[in-house]
């Protein structure tokens, strides 16, 4: 693990422009002063201030340290609000002022104060030496405490970060009834610890990268060595470290800059707010990307079938999960093709609809001024508009608007003869159906309207051609080298037991082979629960 880390960091620093903050700081800062500290406190402070400036949030505390006869001047630097001041006083300043003189007196030969501080005095959990100005600058900016001592060409950096962040809460988007309810927060350290707590094995590797010229966002690529393909992890790291952008404010930035098919409607990178989902995907041989400041983790490769899966499928018993998966798939397909099918059948092949229904639909379309295609498109747009309004408005108002919109506009439109009731029902159904699989939000509207247009022009033939076109596109996609539609196409029938249905856990012995070939089995060979021997008599 550390070998990998060294390699990656080495690559960062040698590769030049794309990332590695040292290089970049030079790129945009220009006047970075001498890169290494001098043995003079004033010069060092000057060098640091020339980069950092003397902003209101930069705290400089001057101290004098050492045993009384030869006191040394020292300066403590940290950014206001990013350091836990209580700990700073208790674990850092107090020992430096009280213990240092004693310790120095005990070993008169020693002259390296920084060394003594690091090894014998400072009580903070982390303390290390730093020798270059850029290193010190970025430490201060990240919330570390830096102590400079006169006539020493080194500084002591201690991490006592403490800033406010959200607690671990239940995610708002992915809610479960059964299963872990904790969600990621904006704090990367918290998120990593959530993962570590789920996967204790030393194989869990975190590779740290700093992305963003100005934001210097910490990005961590996680995988399990021995489970994930090493080439996959390397590819993710390569793509992420190739990003050159001024700021990374959310994992969405990373997602859009490393995805395989940037033009496609279909997402090729998965995301989740739940640590248990990330852990499950890591165990399947996937690689995760976590970004500081974003509660959404990315996972790759992301394949189409993930759309109809939820973590809960695995936490509850298989029967319900299997049925629900099939329902999700049906609703997903319906949500895309139903408007097109509706238009095609009514316009071109009404004989394929049950006779009574045809009459009902025809009667409800009586007096509607628009052609069917226009009616469907119009109401589709109105539905999407109402939905967007419902999302943007404050929560209590939002639901009111949606209800008013759905009920009043729908009923009134039908009564006024602007739309047929069948179209309104169809639109509402399709809209609701698309909520079931939120992973494809990008696809629904565009694909739906494409198919409606084709069905309007060419009927069922147009619809089928449109579907074939869409499907071909889906088949042509890849997510980090894995065909997007696998294992559906190319078909791997043994894997279908965890795609369209969710077979009992003890049948899912193998990891998905199309993602990883590293370790084939994820459970023991005889994991099926056994009935106890039937020797015991019933007790009456």
């Amino acid at each position: 693990m550390s070998g990998r880390l060294k390699k990656v960091i080495g690559r960062l620093f040698t590769k030049g422009p794309p990332s590695g903050y040292l290089q970049q700081s030079h790129d945009q800062g220009g006047s970075f002063g001498p890169p290494y500290l001098a043995a003079d406190l004033d010069k060092n402070l000057e060098a640091i201030f020339s980069v950092l400036g003397k902003g209101p949030d930069l705290i400089v505390r001057h101290l004098e340290v050492g045993p009384p006869p030869k006191l040394l001047r020292a300066a403590l630097l940290y950014a206001d609000g990013m350091v836990d001041t209580e700990l700073l006083g208790e674990l850092f300043i107090k020992p430096v002022l009280h213990d240092l003189p004693r310790k120095l007196a005990q070993r008169p030969g020693s002259l390296d104060v920084i060394d003594v501080l690091e090894k014998h005095v400072v009580a903070a959990p982390s303390a290390k030496k730093a020798k270059s100005v850029p290193e010190i600058v970025s430490s201060v900016l990240r919330g570390d405490v830096v102590l400079l001592v006169d006539s020493h060409a080194a500084a002591l950096v201690s991490s006592l970060r403490g800033f406010r962040s959200r607690n671990v809460e239940e995610p708002t988007l992915e809610t479960v009834i059964r299963g872990p309810k904790e969600g990621f927060t904006e704090n990367l350290r918290t998120n990593l610890s959530l993962l570590r707590r789920k996967i204790v094995h030393p194989g869990l590797c975190f590779t740290e990268l700093f992305i963003g010229r100005y934001s210097q966002t910490r990005v961590v690529v996680a995988h399990i060595a021995g489970v994930a393909e090493k080439s996959l992890a390397d590819e993710v790291i390569r793509r992420v470290s190739g990003i050159d952008i001024d700021g990374v404010l959310d994992s969405g930035y990373i997602e859009q800059l490393i995805e395989d098919a940037p033009y496609s409607l279909f997402p090729t990178i998965g995301n989740t707010e739940k640590p248990d989902v990330v852990a499950a995907r890591l165990l399947e041989g996937r690689v995760a990307v976590l970004v500081d400041g974003s509660p959404v983790a990315l996972t790759v490769p992301r394949l189409f079938y993930e759309t109809i899966q939820t973590p809960e499928d695995y936490y509850s018993r298989p029967y319900n999960s299997s049925i629900i998966r099939i329902i999700r798939l049906i609703f997903l397909i319906a949500s895309i093709i139903l408007p097109g099918l509706y238009v095609a059948l009514i316009n071109y092949d009404p004989e394929a609809i049950p006779q009574k229904l045809v009459f009902t639909i025809a009667a409800s379309r009586e007096g509607v001024p628009f052609p069917l295609v226009l009616e469907v498109v119009l109401f589709g747009l109105i539905f999407e508009g109402l939905r967007e309004a419902g999302v943007r408005l404050p929560r209590p108002v939002g639901s009111a608007v949606t209800i008013v919109g759905a009920l009043i506009i729908g009923t009134a439109a039908v009564e006024a003869g602007l739309a047929s009731s069948s179209t309104v029902i169809m639109t509402a159904f399709v809209g609701i159906a698309s909520f079931i699989t939120p992973g494809l939000t990008d696809v629904y509207i565009a694909a739906r309207f494409l198919l409606v247009a084709l069905a309007g022009v060419l009927g069922l033939f147009g619809l089928v051609m449109g579907m074939l076109f869409l499907y071909t596109h889906m088949c042509s996609l890849r997510s980090f080298g894995v065909p997007y539609m696998s294992p559906i196409a190319p078909s791997a029938y043994p894997q279908w037991k965890d795609i369209f249905v969710r077979a009992p856990l003890w049948l899912l012995k193998t990891r998905p082979f199309f993602i990883t070939k590293q370790s084939k089995y994820r459970m023991g060979q005889d994991s099926k629960p056994e009935r106890p021997p039937s020797g015991q008599k019933e007790r009456n």
Binding site: Y348, L460, P483, P490, S491
Partner: protein
């Protein structure tokens, strides 16, 4: 390398099935019945054996030249000029046979479902999608087919299931009323369909295991033979004497179904997998045509060829025949000997030359 992708054995079997099934199910019953009457099912057995024999020739060629297509190894076998001519012949033939299929599909749509829409609309739409798929390469084509074929089979299975109650056994008798001759006569035009496994002449080098060509073809032919057998039984069993009058008996079968559940008329729904299958079939042939042309002219990439070939394909399918009657007439009476010569005859000649001249990879004595 023109084509980077590889397909598995299973995908190859599926591709062969899809590249034969949609049209053979539509056209064969009428065609065979006209010749063989109630013994049509015997004709099917006959042409299945013929299909296996044709597959044997193609499979043996594939064993000798596992890394090359026919366009490439014909140059090696009979010299650059004659070999080039053979390559050109195949590049053209794939387009030509495909134009039949495009027209068949379009005619099926206009005569049965869209009486008022001009045929050119269907041709353009089909060719557009076909070119789109071909440009994505063989792997994507294989993946698309992985879903399309099961859809067709499911539909066909449902059709046969619904038909069973209406079968009439007396429609099959008397067996061999007029001797064996009609059975052969009925099977002859149908043989063209079962020799369409010759797409493997172009696809062999792109199999993950090119040596498997022979079993791949055999599996596909046996499956198709069995299916065709069932369909013929259903058609004869239900419509009997009338089969000769229907151009697309299977569609008429579909019309006979009154599932009595709640749908009154299912044939537009049956149409959907059919269009899918037909389009994939055209795509397979178009892919072969495109690959052959690109190899013939030693191009590095076939994207442009796919488009040019697509335009030619569309135009050919529109101008070659006046109407569906002429089309059906040609398929049944005029083309079979020529097509069979190209599909099986030339490979057989090439195989003989290869065996005599000890060209290509030698087969071990035991195999």
């Amino acid at each position: 390398m023109l084509e980077e992708g590889r397909i598995s054995d299973r995908q190859a079997v599926y591709l062969i099935i899809t590249s034969i099934l949609p049209t053979s199910i539509l056209f064969l019953p009428h065609m065979i019945y006209k010749g063989a009457r109630q013994d049509a099912w015997l004709s099917v057995i006959l042409i299945t054996f013929f299909g296996l024999a044709a597959g044997e020739v193609i499979g043996r060629l594939a064993r000798r030249f596992p890394a090359q297509t026919i366009v490439e190894y014909s140059r090696e076998l009979v010299g650059p000029y004659l070999g080039g001519a053979i390559g050109l012949l195949y590049a053209g033939f794939f387009l030509y046979i495909n134009s039949f299929v495009v027209r068949e599909l379009a005619e099926m749509l206009t005569t049965n479902f869209y009486e008022e829409t001009p045929i050119v609309v269907f041709v353009i739409a089909t060719v557009f999608v076909v070119v789109y798929i071909v440009r994505h390469g063989l792997e994507v084509l294989g993946r698309v087919n992985d879903i399309v074929l099961p859809l067709i089979l499911a539909m066909l299975g449902a059709l046969v299931l619904f038909i069973i109650p209406t079968l009439k056994a007396q429609n099959f008798f008397p067996v061999l009323e007029n001797g064996v001759a009609p059975v052969v006569r009925g099977g002859f035009p149908a043989a063209v369909f079962f020799a369409e496994t010759f797409v493997m002449l172009m696809l062999t080098p792109y199999l993950a295991r090119p040596d498997e060509t022979r079993p791949v073809i055999a599996k596909a032919v046996l499956f198709l033979g069995g299916l065709q057998f069932l369909v013929i039984l259903a058609v004869i069993g239900v419509t009997g004497e009338l089969t000769a009058n229907f151009l697309f008996p299977v569609l008429d079968l579909a019309r006979l179904i009154r599932p009595s559940l709640f749908l009154t008329n299912v044939d537009p729904l049956i149409l959907m997998p059919w269009i899918l299958g037909g389009t994939v079939k055209i795509t397979v042939f178009h892919y072969c045509a495109t690959l052959a042309a690109a190899q013939l002219f030693r191009l590095r990439n076939y994207g442009v060829v796919a488009v040019i070939n697509g335009i030619i394909l569309g135009v050919l399918s529109l101008i070659l025949w006046e109407d569906v009657v002429e089309l059906a007439e040609q398929i049944a009476r005029v083309i079979p000997p020529y097509f069979l010569f190209i599909q099986v005859g030339i490979p057989l000649v090439l195989l003989v030359i290869a065996v005599i001249g000890r060209k290509g990879r030698q087969e071990n004595a035991g195999q």
